[in-house]
Symmetry: D2
Subunit: 427 residues, 4 copies
């Protein structure tokens, strides 16, 4: 389905007077601080976040899964759902596919469909943490790290195949997340598992097209509960470093031990030019995969503060990172969850853009933590929602995406199209 | 299947000379400290741990599930598997059922079958964290805490039905574990959710037979990722206290925040006579449900040190607790995992029985932490495996249960009986 | 020292036009939502937070302490510093004393001095976690829980003496925080330690004036590193419950294990009418005692959301809680740190006051977590700083307290008055 | 003081018959498994752990410090105390100095004194986390990372001076632990702080004698509470890698976030030949600096399992690591605490030496986690105390070091020599 543009304009129109007033006030306040609201808006408009195909359906836990109706059952449906998100938010201009679930049948048709929604194909994701029905070897005891070369080869081949599909669609990067690890002390030879993983990644890396990047994700635990082969950024960086210039680390917000200073990891990786991508979500306990900004919005702002610092530094060697939401929606309508996540990401980005960096560096040079905090919090406490709304308005999106989604009865529409019992594939 | 007694004797016989020597040495060492090995052995023999029916199959995570073959598909199969565990270990003399999966057809036949293996029926477990196919109301947003009285009533009725099944089989307690909670700030009114839960539990409590106990389990998170209605022992105790004399808290080792001092919770609950039961497992990160003793055997010993202190205190008002393993086996053969868990539990129990309590109290009175540590570690560092082996030997179990299980090719046998693709029910 | 009122007016005047505009805009926005800015302002003005006397000097860690100059050396100086904070912020209308460091010499003079600054005497704090030079018995191995009755008696007597001092000054509550616990497994008999603590508290409780309250604080660890006698809210509540109607739990934000859902604890304690007081601070790792709101401002808002819910509930039996900042300032000027903390507290309070509670409850009744989140975040994302500024302005405080503090060169002034090397007493 | 050899022999003699019997039994058990007890004993005898000079006195927390009497006030006293520990345990054959507290006056006399106790000088430790009375610049806002080059230079010069002292005494390595970091978001520019630290370390590295090593320690937090410049092994490794072949990472057990898999870090660093040293201690919550093995003895064993794997691998490029205890003794007699720590370290080492590595690798190749666990736990559950006792006996140490220490009334003796109020220097 596609949203009728006139309907969206009508919905926006009702909120327009209040928006104009708030935006006008904010623009004046920013102007007094030497900030041009339009410059911020341009950056907000340029900031696009990929939606992974698996996030369009209801997620679950090992204790159960409670589906929402109208979930997308095909790649075309998934592209359609991201199209809806993008039309409303003007922020979700890409889709990130998960193979084997999203293998395109007719590549040209799929590309044309995505194009019709203004969507690009972001990083493609391989999957070696589940066994598929027709699979020769099991990944129960690992994939790229497996003791058996045949299993490793199967996983390598799968990744090479994923690159092939991605290449056909116009993707430019491969994200490798490995569940490989162990659940019991003694189970794994840490060193050999690392070496085997490196060796497998080298074979995949060799198959990468010249203009592609390889993202090496890390995670401390789950689904394995004692060790993970790529347990932290240090391990990921060691691999990316040994692989070569096209390999980078990928940071997923939920993949850290309690209390980790993630913003410092982001800064460190950007310092050495090796931050390739970012997976957004939020969590309180583990890799909870909750709506971005639902729990720790200030941490998200602090991370964006480092990202902006790196992105705006002309001397930085770090490439522009790939942005993706990696969340799981157990209770909320997945579409609403994603719209809320997009909003939270851009709020943090906008706040980070307001930070007075020259003043901040001066406070740092003066060892003035009180002032440094004032500077950060002045930006964070600013109500930047009118900037996001204006950016969307100028791009023909919705002033209030979640509100419009509800007013337009989109879920009801999807259920009537697809049925109340469809279950999305790919986790 | 049942193990041939002669075969087991033959297997034991090969290891007997070494065992006799080790047991003889240990008995002498203990005797010099004034400890009678036979007294310890009697206590070890009396200590029986219930096996939950769901632990007999391969568990999974939200990322996938890799089955073992030969899993039990029926209640009868499950009883048979516990029977095998008990025959080998002489420590698993009870089964704990999970309704709706383990509803007995012919109650008398099921009782007779269990009896033939020397098994009792321990606490019965209700299930309101998944939706069953034929269920009228969904538990997506809670069960006993739900905002809708109809959903609560359905969950209450289910619990009353579980009591009924348990009563027929000879169980004497109901364990209530609730997944109820919220995944997002704002979702739940904490106070009303608690009050509704209390009210629902009161209705269940009212249906409890006179000689039954109700165990209120707690857990900080998962499957909900922001709050759980019964998040900690304080909440569980508040409920048990308000419910009445037949209600108790149940401690599951994996249901605690990082670094929690669980042994102190155990001591506190026993102090007020409200520790009803215990779920054993082990973990490194969250509720990982790993083999007991696989990660933190010293913590397990410290917990048993408190349990023994409470159990051996003639002034204690605490009832004898219900013991159960609550683990999930993603990688290991479930039967081997359970045998290792039983061993770890009894090792900790045996070590705790060796603690010189009079000397320990004296060290405490003298504010002598070095000596107190020496006393505990003297017990912990003792190799008590010969005590466990002797206890099993005297009860016609296996000297080395995991070894015997492998020598007897039990898994292979089960696969040939039940097939390589059967999947156990009940999580 | 006292701030010249005219100087403050001049400083405010420069920022007044911008403030008027922002406040005007915000008032209109709120009015459209049916909220009266003046009602919020009245509540903000009434909300006063006590400053503990020890927070006026530079704190330290076991690794060292780096003093700021001009620290208050006497009780009179401390009252003066709180007076300055209150004059600027109009939010710090009370001081919380720490005995033995703050024993008043001339009670009437001290009362008159505090009165001249508009300050009340909040909860008094006993200290049994350090040994004083003239002390007969050591608290190395505990105070109220000590195995030796003589030590317990000394600690009891100290608490009774603290009540006496507080009573003379007009305090109405005693806060008991105990370092009591153990650093090694085995060191302490958990149950006896708890019973001795209860018994000691009962003796203190018996000495409480009729209109006083006793606050029982809890903390999981530090300075003891294995166990704390009152390790969590459950233990604190058990004690308060056994003590009687005048005893309450006190929540200190930093005194929780990683990932604890503190807002749920707050709600639970208020539900049973037993939340007595609150210690504000912030932290990333442990009891870091950082500036309030410096790390987790959204968590603070969620806590205030529960506090407001409880305070505004006419059926609640919970008394109005005592508010105190309990922070330690290792790097910042303590006065600036406290001004930032006061601002963060009131921001969270103001945001919580903006929550549309009727709509929130409706969303909860409808199991609509997306909408519940929208409602909370709409309040949180509102820039409420103009409300705080206006509240201060109307009370003759500073529009920008930290800015004014710097413009007025207060630290420089204090150093010239008291010297660069003075070190504040009381931790 | 020195222990009279005859007295020690007499004490040992009383326990000798029991020891002979236990050792004889264990030797036979090991022999049946193909293990030669004497080979293990030789390795145990060769394993020497350095004692840091600061660990000989009573430690404290920010909440207070409760001294033990008889603490060493001079470098000579400290050497004497380590001499006593070594005489009893035959395991503490080195002392690790902390400058500025342990600057030797007469180098030759100090060397001769150490030599008379059989002690070597292990890694020297610089100190830039406190300000000394005569210091020109303050380290309040960092040392090697400081924004001001003059402060950095002071810290660099201090480190170079430490090398000079160490070189004179025969040390061969410098350990750099930095408190540098920040307590508030915004305070520090992460990237510049890292670069400045690297640059400072390069200047220190340039001053390293040819046969020296530089150990770069890491720690996530404390005394800074938001960020630490060298927050984790990844950061430490990045620095060591950039510094050169003589630079290594140093792992301190207490310097990790909750739940970190430290054994995997150890394996990874050894894999790349970059594990330089190890600081032993134990903890439950943070950097608690408790007695080694007091909380998590199994984790210690798992770490030793990796250490032994690396040390016994002929293809490994990792140098033999430096071993040191880094603990703080708030409650126990420091000497007893250290004796208990030495025992725990060697127990874990001995257990790790018993692991059947060939069988373990085979189980790993077969994806057999149950068996891998059996193999590890068979080693861990073995009571190896007789091996340690025999190793000490053969080296003229005490069969039971803590027991002998008490029997010999050493603390009483030290108090009579040095007084009850002496306080050890250096933290």
């Amino acid at each position: 389905m596609r949203i009728d543009k006139q309907q969206l304009i009508q919905i926006n129109d009702q909120a327009l007077p209040d928006h104009r007033e708030s935006f006008g006030h904010l623009s004046k306040v920013l102007a007094k601080k030497g900030l041009d609201a339009n410059e911020v808006i341009k950056k907000l408009q340029a900031f696009q976040v990929a939606i992974p195909s698996w996030a369009l359906g209801t997620g679950g836990t090992r204790f159960g899964r409670f589906s929402t109706g109208g979930e997308p059952g095909t790649l075309e449906d998934k592209i359609g759902d991201v199209g809806l998100l993008h039309q409303l938010s003007q922020s979700a201009g890409a889709i990130s596919l998960h193979i084997p679930w999203d293998i395109p049948g007719d590549v040209q048709a799929v590309k044309a469909l995505a194009d019709s929604y203004g969507l690009a194909f972001d990083a493609v994701n391989s999957n070696t943490f589940q066994d598929q029905a027709d699979q020769e070897h099991s990944y129960k005891f690992g994939s790229l790290c497996h003791v058996d070369k045949a299993v490793r080869q199967q996983a390598i081949d799968h990744n090479l195949e994923v690159i092939k599909y991605g290449d056909a669609l116009g993707s430019k990067s491969l994200t490798v997340w490995l569940a490989d690890g162990s659940s019991f002390p003694g189970q794994l030879n840490f060193k050999r598992a690392f070496q085997r993983t490196l060796s497998s990644l080298q074979e995949i890396y060799a198959g990468l097209p010249a203009d592609w990047k390889l993202f090496v994700e890390y995670k401390p635990y789950e689904p394995n509960f004692y060790s993970t082969v790529i347990q932290d950024w240090g391990s990921s960086h060691m691999l990316a470093d040994k692989l070569g210039d096209k390999a980078y680390s990928l940071v997923d917000l939920g993949h850290h031990l309690p209390n980790t200073n993630i913003e410092q990891i982001v800064a460190t990786l950007m310092m050495v030019g090796k931050l390739g991508g970012f997976h957004f979500n939020d969590s309180k306990y583990g890799d909870d995969d909750l709506t971005v900004g639902a729990l720790k919005p200030y941490q998200l702002f602090l991370i964006f503060n480092e990202l902006v610092d790196g992105m705006e530094d002309p001397t930085s060697t770090n490439p522009y990172p790939a942005w993706m939401i990696d969340a799981s929606h157990n209770l909320k309508d997945p579409m609403e969850d994603l719209l809320q996540s997009l909003e939270a990401i851009k709020l943090a980005y906008a706040q980070a853009l307001l930070v007075d960096r020259a003043a901040l560096e001066e406070a740092r040079e003066n060892n003035d933590p009180s002032l440094a905090q004032e500077i950060l919090q002045n930006a964070y406490r600013t109500d930047v929602r009118p900037l996001l709304a204006e950016a969307r308005l100028q791009s023909n999106g919705a002033l209030d995406p979640v509100g419009a989604y509800r007013r337009l009865n989109i879920r009801k529409e999807l259920i009537s199209l697809r049925g109340a019992k469809t279950i999305s594939t790919g986790l």
